[in-house]
């Protein structure tokens, strides 16, 4: 006998809750890691790591953005600070992009959901693209100004 829609929905809800519960410890682990990084890494001192070489700074910006996690608005505030400290737009853009597209902290969780191959590939692409997009945005801004 075919089940009606509401019965199927509640059955699905039970299944979804169970599969969420299974992965819940890994999500709690990621949340704890984010809290840890927030308190143990001094994000304000970022500027001192940039040395004025355009490509190197862009790569550093991308790596920092990949390490830190949090609300995107925090990355806007930090980026504005970096720009005020004369860090190039290329580096700041790479920082902004990798903040939201790459998550080193979330990699264990991502692996548990999608496997190693996909996770490593996706994050590598995201780091690479953050650098490429940063250069493209910087060049486009230059051409348009």
């Amino acid at each position: 006998m075919k089940k009606n829609l509401s019965t199927r929905f509640f059955e699905n809800l039970k299944k979804s809750s169970l599969s969420f519960l299974i992965t819940f410890p890994v999500i709690i682990g990621v949340i704890l890691l984010i809290g840890f990084i927030k308190n143990f890494v001094n994000i304000q001192k970022l500027s001192s790591f940039f040395d004025g070489y355009l490509l190197r700074d862009t790569v550093i910006g991308s790596i920092f953005g990949s390490i830190f996690a949090g609300h995107p608005s925090n990355s806007y505030i930090l980026s504005e600070e970096l720009l005020e400290n004369n860090i190039s737009l290329y580096a700041v853009t790479a920082f902004l992009i990798s903040w939201v597209t790459v998550g080193f902290v979330q990699i264990p969780a991502e692996i548990s959901f999608f496997g190693k191959k996909f996770t490593i590939m996706r994050n590598l692409f995201a780091v690479l693209f953050s650098i490429v997009i940063a250069i493209l945005v910087g060049l486009t801004m230059r051409v348009m100004s």
Partner: protein, 169 residues
């Protein structure tokens, strides 16, 4: 619970235990910072709790859609429009990236390709509710250029991943 689910749960708990040991080990040297880390993590958890509930509901709803429809519109052989569907889905999804992992894992089981998952995850960088804030920080021109490139590259990333991971099958 099935054997596969137990295995996954075990891995999940091991990861959590590693983080707990990191906290315990560090607490001997920096007790105040650890207290602050726990407070920050707790606040973050409370903030994203409603998103978890939305994702569970969403998963239950999506499971009502037959697998062949998901495969047709989001599978590896789906039409070009499917990239836009994945990208717009990513743009509209709120909350932290990891809260959407269970939903996307579920979609993968239903036939969504790895490339579309990557596009969904990448296009989450385009934060529609934060656009006014971004304009106020970086100006209109930068915001437009930045987001156009993100959109294009979200599709490019998904496309590349599908070529590498899905075409072999």
């Amino acid at each position: 619970m099935k054997k596969k689910q137990w295995k996954k749960m075990k891995k999940s708990i091991i990861f959590l235990l590693i983080v707990v040991f990191l906290y315990l080990g560090t607490s001997f040297f920096y007790s105040q910072k650890i207290v602050n880390s726990i407070k920050n993590s707790f606040n973050l958890f409370i903030t994203i709790l409603p998103i978890f509930l939305i994702v569970i509901m969403f998963m239950a709803l999506v499971n009502l859609i037959p697998n062949k429809i998901v495969k047709k519109y989001l599978g590896k052989d789906s039409k070009f429009i499917s990239w836009f569907i994945s990208s717009i889905g990513g743009m509209l999804s709120h909350g932290p990236i990891y809260s959407w992992y269970p939903f996307l894992e579920n979609m993968k089981k239903k036939g969504m390709s790895y490339g579309k998952i990557a596009t969904f995850l990448y296009s989450r960088a385009i934060k529609i509710p934060l656009l006014p804030l971004m304009i106020s920080f970086f100006g209109l021109k930068f915001t437009i250029i930045y987001n156009i490139y993100l959109f294009v590259f979200s599709i490019l990333q998904g496309f590349s991943i599908d070529i590498i991971l899905e075409k072999k099958k």
